[in-house]
């Protein structure tokens, strides 16, 4: 998010100010915040201020209005369109990151300075535990299908089980 005063530097100081019952939010960079000694710092627990909701403004501010064609483009998994994202700052599902990769990638770079995650990753151990658990469940289902003579379903389950077993090798 850019500083509201100079509109040039990254805003890092966020104030909520209340004057005569009217609430205003200010987002300033280091220099502009320093220059304002009059700032009365206030806030509200749990209400109002949310850095995320300001994302939308940031996107429009930096790129100008979004073309109509892009606005209407929707994620095939969740149905959320790009217009919703520019307004709410929220994506609809994990696949939206792929659907709107062209827009999200530069945005992530602006927010975090990079798109590359260097932290924790889902642990192999965790994946393995969950694979084995799914395998056990599928085998139980398969046995039940055979016992109830649902052979088509049992064959489907057998294929799924084979695939999961291959994943583990």
């Amino acid at each position: 998010m850019l500083c509201e005063e100079c509109k040039a530097q990254q805003a890092t100081v966020h104030y909520t100010q209340v004057v005569n019952g009217e609430k205003t939010e200010m987002h300033l960079c280091e220099d502009c915040a320093k220059a304002r000694s009059d700032i009365d710092i206030l806030g509200f627990p749990g209400t109002g201020f949310n850095i995320n909701s300001l994302l939308a403004g940031l996107m429009n501010f930096e790129h100008g209005p979004t073309p109509a064609k892009l606005r209407a483009e929707a994620c095939s998994t969740c149905g959320a369109d790009y217009n919703r994202f520019t307004q709410s700052g929220r994506l609809g599902c994990a696949d939206c990151y792929k659907t709107f990769a062209k827009q999200i990638s530069p945005l992530l770079k602006r927010i975090h300075g990079t798109t590359a995650h260097h932290g924790k990753v889902p642990s192999k151990g965790a994946k393995e535990i969950s694979r084995k658990r799914r395998l056990t469940n599928l085998k139980l289902e398969q046995r039940a299908a055979v016992e109830s003579e649902q052979y088509e379903k049992a064959a489907e389950l057998r294929d799924q089980i084979r695939k999961l077993e291959l994943d583990g090798q």
Partner: protein, 345 residues
């Protein structure tokens, strides 16, 4: 005491100045749309998935928002265990550990917000705890993850680690000397952000500030936490230096402010939340400046008891605003007088 969350024990490192530490990790279930777009059935499915993990979640207790009264939900917000957003969502839930140090919000902005709240400055410990619950759940539930971007969240500002670490600081001396703006403004260059918290109406009260990481990607969690701790330690050192200067140049005035507030809080008959917060802030100043010996934990508890929801929970019948001011005055003055009489609590 039902109203006591772990952070309210107030016994962590630097607890005269650092009120509490929070680390939260945002996670979403793979293959389920984020809470903002999912339907009612999917929302119930996410809650059921979490409930089904009761075995791995050890001593945690899952509560659905729809099954809690408004007062109960408000009290959880005031204890900082859930957000106001979650309290207002009928398809939300929360899993809270028996010591009330860990709270997992379900169906807030993301499917899961795993949070650990501890008293004082305990960033590493809070991260380790939150991360352990993340591991436990991850073994059972596949999370949305992208090889390059990392953990995927509803808002791209949380993507990557999904981790937001924050520290709540009480900085009356930096506020009093007029230096607080400069100090907080300088933290931006470290990828951190500052925010004033607490307060209502037109006056500033409480002198509480929250410092947290702004950037959630590109660095390992441990490094983000180390940066934050380094900066917080410097702010604490600055606050201590200003406290020293303040008591050296105007000891009598500082003592007067502290004892005047103690006198008021022990004797008031009507007390609003705002006035309570400002009196508690003055008393906390007295503790940080070694003027009076009271436990920071007592001050945390008074601060939370001053809020309307927790206060209402302490009483059997429902109260209107003036009755609340009467009750607040009664409870807070009684607890403060007990602490003063019996030494520390």
């Amino acid at each position: 005491m039902d109203y006591k969350a772990k952070w309210m024990e107030g016994n962590g490192p630097e607890s005269a100045i650092v009120v509490s530490t929070r680390v939260r990790v945002a996670r979403n279930l793979a293959g389920v749309p984020f809470p903002g777009t999912m339907n009612e059935i999917q929302a119930q499915g996410v809650i059921a998935t979490v409930e089904a993990q009761q075995g791995v979640l050890e001593d945690m207790h899952v509560q659905r928002m729809a099954e809690l009264s408004q007062v109960d939900r408000l009290a959880l917000v005031e204890k900082h265990l859930i957000s106001l957003d979650l309290a207002n969502k009928s398809d939300g839930a929360v899993a809270i550990s028996s010591d009330q140090a860990v709270a997992i919000m379900v169906n807030e902005e993301d499917h899961l917000r795993i949070q650990c709240l501890l008293p004082g400055l305990q960033l590493e410990q809070a991260w380790e705890t939150a991360s352990r619950y993340d591991d436990l759940l991850e073994a059972e539930i596949p999370f949305a993850f992208h090889e390059e971007y990392g953990y995927l969240t509803a808002c791209p500002t949380n993507a990557g680690t999904g981790m937001r670490a924050s520290v709540m600081l009480h900085l009356p001396a930096l506020v009093g000397s007029g230096h607080v703006g400069k100090v907080l403004a300088a933290i931006g260059q470290f990828g951190l952000m500052a925010r004033g918290i607490y307060g209502e109406g037109t006056q500033a009260v409480g002198q509480m500030f929250q410092i947290s990481n702004q950037v959630t990607s590109g660095l390992p969690e441990e490094e983000i936490i180390r940066n934050l701790r380094g900066v917080v330690e410097q702010i604490v050192a600055q606050e201590k230096a200003h406290l020293k200067k303040m008591t050296a140049t105007s000891r009598l005035q500082v003592e007067d402010r502290v004892f005047r507030s103690i006198g008021l809080l022990s004797n008031v008959r009507l007390l609003s939340t705002n006035e309570a917060m400002s009196l508690i802030s003055d008393i906390r100043l007295g503790v940080a400046a070694d003027i009076i010996d009271l436990s920071p934990g007592l001050l945390c508890q008074l601060m939370v008891l001053a809020q309307p929801g927790v206060l209402q929970k302490e009483c059997t019948e429902s109260l209107d605003s003036q009755q609340r001011d009467v009750k607040r005055a009664e409870i807070l003055s009684k607890r403060l007088k007990q602490a003063l009489r019996g030494g520390n609590i």
